[in-house]
């Protein structure tokens, strides 16, 4: 198991990038009234056929050759179900994959959000050619970061590999997450 939601997001979204997605949408929605957190990662990568999809939740399924177990998806599913949440994966060969995991935020086993800003910045740095879109919402108020908007201002995609730019992106996301969390009267959201 991983420590927090931000680590699951990094792990799952890397699968999208490795599946040659051109666009990956990461949505994290916190709902304080319904006491839920819903994570959705949607990509337009190469997707999975029905046979692979059936066994992808099994730890002994992986596409890699370095080891025989793939723990990313089983970990996320286990974490979601451990706090009476839900897990769902839909995929179509050649079209893409959507993974959804729900968590009950008042459950003792609900993982903390962790450093989501560092996760998004790490994904952008690692796969700058992919269009990352991150939406964080708290009770209906949202912050959206679209890598295309950043590139409009930055001009050169190569600059996404510069430490200064990556750290700026991380701080920018963190600042906006903090702002949304504070809107909810300072209540601890995760």
């Amino acid at each position: 198991m991983l420590e927090d939601l931000s680590q699951y997001i990094l792990d799952i979204a890397e699968n999208s990038a490795k599946a040659k997605a051109k666009k990956v949408l990461i949505e994290l929605a916190v709902d304080n009234r319904n006491k839920s957190i819903v994570l959705r990662v949607s990509d337009d990568g190469w997707g999975m056929d029905e046979e692979f999809l059936r066994k992808v939740e099994d730890p002994f399924t992986t596409t890699r050759k370095e080891r025989k177990v793939g723990l990313g998806i089983p970990f996320l599913k286990q974490a979601a179900l451990a706090c009476e949440g839900f897990f769902d994966i839909k995929s179509k060969k050649g079209e893409g994959t959507v993974i959804e995991a729900g968590f009950r935020k008042d459950h003792i086993d609900c993982p903390p959000l962790g450093d989501v800003a560092a996760t998004i910045a790490t994904l952008i740095m690692g796969w700058p050619e992919c269009r990352w879109i991150f939406r964080y919402s708290v009770d209906g108020n949202s912050f959206i970061l679209d890598l295309d908007d950043l590139l409009d201002h930055l001009g050169d995609r190569e600059l996404l590999k510069s430490p200064k730019v990556v750290l700026w992106i991380k701080d920018y996301i963190q600042e906006n997450i903090d702002l949304l969390n504070q809107k909810k009267g300072g209540e601890d959201i995760a």
Binding site: M1, L2, E3, Q7, L10, D11, E14, K18, R64, E66, R67, G70, L71, G72, F75, D115, A118, T119, A121, T122, M125, G126, D149, L150, D152, H153, L154, G155, D156, E158, L159, K161, S162, P163, K164, V165, V166, L167, W168, K170, D171, Y172, E175, D178, L179, Q182
Partner: protein
């Protein structure tokens, strides 16, 4: 909390540092951080952030930083590879954010391998 950052900062960064792009992917000095499930679980993202912070702090612009998946040495994660042109590629294991500044100063900049953290070497 007032908003401090906005997207126009990126234009400023771009104008202020025309030489930032020297760290292009084709750059010869390279740092590679393992970011598979095993790496993430062991704290690789924090190590990566420490590396970026250290490079930014020292104003080092000729080092390309990359991430990679699992290379099958999960027990030694977080793994960090240092590549200097014309020298063997060195893999450091069990890296912690606090190890980063020493490895960048001693190895990346000065070329002296920090042997106590080395787990592999490719000539």
């Amino acid at each position: 909390m007032p908003k401090i950052k906005n997207l126009d900062d990126l234009r400023k960064i771009r104008e202020e540092s025309k030489d930032l792009t020297s760290a292009r992917s084709g750059g010869k000095k390279k740092i590679i951080v393992g970011m598979g499930t095993c790496g993430i679980a062991a704290g690789a993202r924090e190590v990566l952030t420490a590396i970026l912070t250290e490079l930014d702090k020292r104003g080092i612009k000729d080092v390309a930083v990359e991430t990679t998946g699992c290379i099958g040495m999960c027990q030694y994660e977080p793994l960090v590879d240092i590549i200097r042109p014309g020298e063997p590629r060195v893999t450091y294991g069990n890296m912690k954010p606090e190890d980063v500044s020493r490895i960048i100063a001693e190895h990346m900049i000065n070329g002296n391998i920090v042997w106590e953290k080395v787990i592999g070497r490719t000539d």
